[in-house]
Amino acid sequence: MSFTEADAIALLVTLKLAFVSTLILLFVGTPLAWWLSRSKWRFKFLIEALVALPLVLPPTVLGFYLLIGLSPSGPIGSLSSSMGFGSLAFSFSGLVIGSVIYSMPFVVQPLQDGFRSVGVRPLEAAAVLRASPVDRFFTIAVPMAKPAFVTASVLGFAHTLGEFGVVLMIGGNIPGETQVVSIAIYDHVEMLDYAKAHFLSGILLLLSFLILTLVYRNRGFKVMTS
């Protein structure tokens, strides 16, 4: 048997991490993307560069800073300790924080593009039809940017699935808590257990491919209707 219970748990932790992170990313990323798509602030590019940073930064660098930040003596770690949550390093919550930052550009950028392509005209049309700003956002901007939401969710989810460097730095490889599939594969290979590594890799490959087909089908659909 090449699929152990530990592997199944790692897979579950991975899916849970991707799911929770994507959910948080949508909540945080949507207002941020909306603001980025509408703001005329001249230093907006600084925020855009910051959001895009995980695209180019080695995950280990991001993980390193997170490790320091989340450790009991770090700014986030000491804050969470003082609030009674303990240190966030080597915990699932820590992984979520890492994933959210790591996958941020994959959610914010499609959303920003989506909102930008909605344009100002439908929103003005809604404004003269008595819709308040919040009303316009939910009844015009969000539905019209729906393809972007699908793309953003799927990319955010898929990218979190494939996370390795950040988890390696801050996760601590605790089975059932912070051990995700990518780390489990690494462990299997380290122990020369290629059969298990094959199996888990295959699952991740298939899953990622399926998810990406969803993105590209969605993109084709968008072209068709526009």
């Binding site: 005209r121 439908p122 003005e124 049309a125 809604a126 404004a127 003269v128 039809l129 008595r130 819709a131 308040s132 700003p133 009303d135 316009r136 009844t139 015009i140 539905p143 019209m144 729906k146 209707t225």
Partner: protein, 354 residues
Amino acid sequence: MSITARFSIDRGRFSLEVDIEIPERGVTALIGPSGCGKTTLLRAIAGLDSYPHGYLRIGQQIWQDETIFVPTYKRLIGYIFQESNLFAHMTVQKNLNYGLSRVSSDHTVSIDPIIDLLGIGNLMDQYPDTLSGGEQQRVAIARAILTSPRLLLMDEPLASLDLERKLEIMPYIEALNRDLSMPIIYVSHDRDEVVKLADHLLLMNDGQIISSGGITDILTRIDLPLAQSAEAESIISAKVKDYDPKYQLSTLESSLGCVLIPGEKLEIGTDVRLRIPAKDVSLTLVHQTGTSILNIFPATVEQIVGGKTAQVTVKVRAGDTAILARITRKSADNLKLKPGMKVFAQTKSVALLA
């Protein structure tokens, strides 16, 4: 009751300085060359762009002054853009309901007559991208009107349409003006649209209102470029009085006097608008008898403008209406025309506008 708007907009290369009072009824056409600030003014009135130090009052309601700025969605306006701006993710029905469902229940415009008026009843379940340009614009107009606006702002609603579509929509806009007592500010640079629709004109140039008034007065204001061009014309309103089926001629009563126009039978009592091109008006010193021209009015010369050009524009007053005649300078000299002279204005053509 009227609409007062004062805006002072400075955007570097472009500045706009406007202080206008618009009657709260009828169609006020805002015309002028492109880039003169028509859309800027309309957007300021709608609150789509906000500028400091503006003042805007609609009847008793202040929408903008030094301390107040009512956001667009709280202004009781309808706005028709150049493009229909329908919501692509909603059917026609849902587009119409969007505005309708957001107004308080005391709206005054009833739904079915508007849908009939604009002829969109059979489009309800379609999505905007399946409609023709003309249909889209008609839905957009209905969508705006269904919110029972206090003021309807139309920014070149026909500009993006070809001639055929324009002709398709024009009657609907005319009907709107006739059936609803809703003031309309209509931005256009198309003279034909304006003379058909407008009751009042605001002439704009380079960010300034250079003239405003009733359409008949403005078109015959001889000091304005409109009256001095080859396309100079007069617009008069008239009422259908009688129809002679033998000659297929309608008799209309206007401030000029009786006017005969050929063509199909017109409903007696209908208010119509007549257009008299200045180039089709000739002047004689005596009442011609042996002539094929039907419409001859005794008139008094008021003003002659033309300087050294071959053609001059003569403004004459017939009844209590001014009309323009475009004649050659040679003829004007031959007739020794001068203000106060009694003449007869012969109109070779009178076109029915609406």
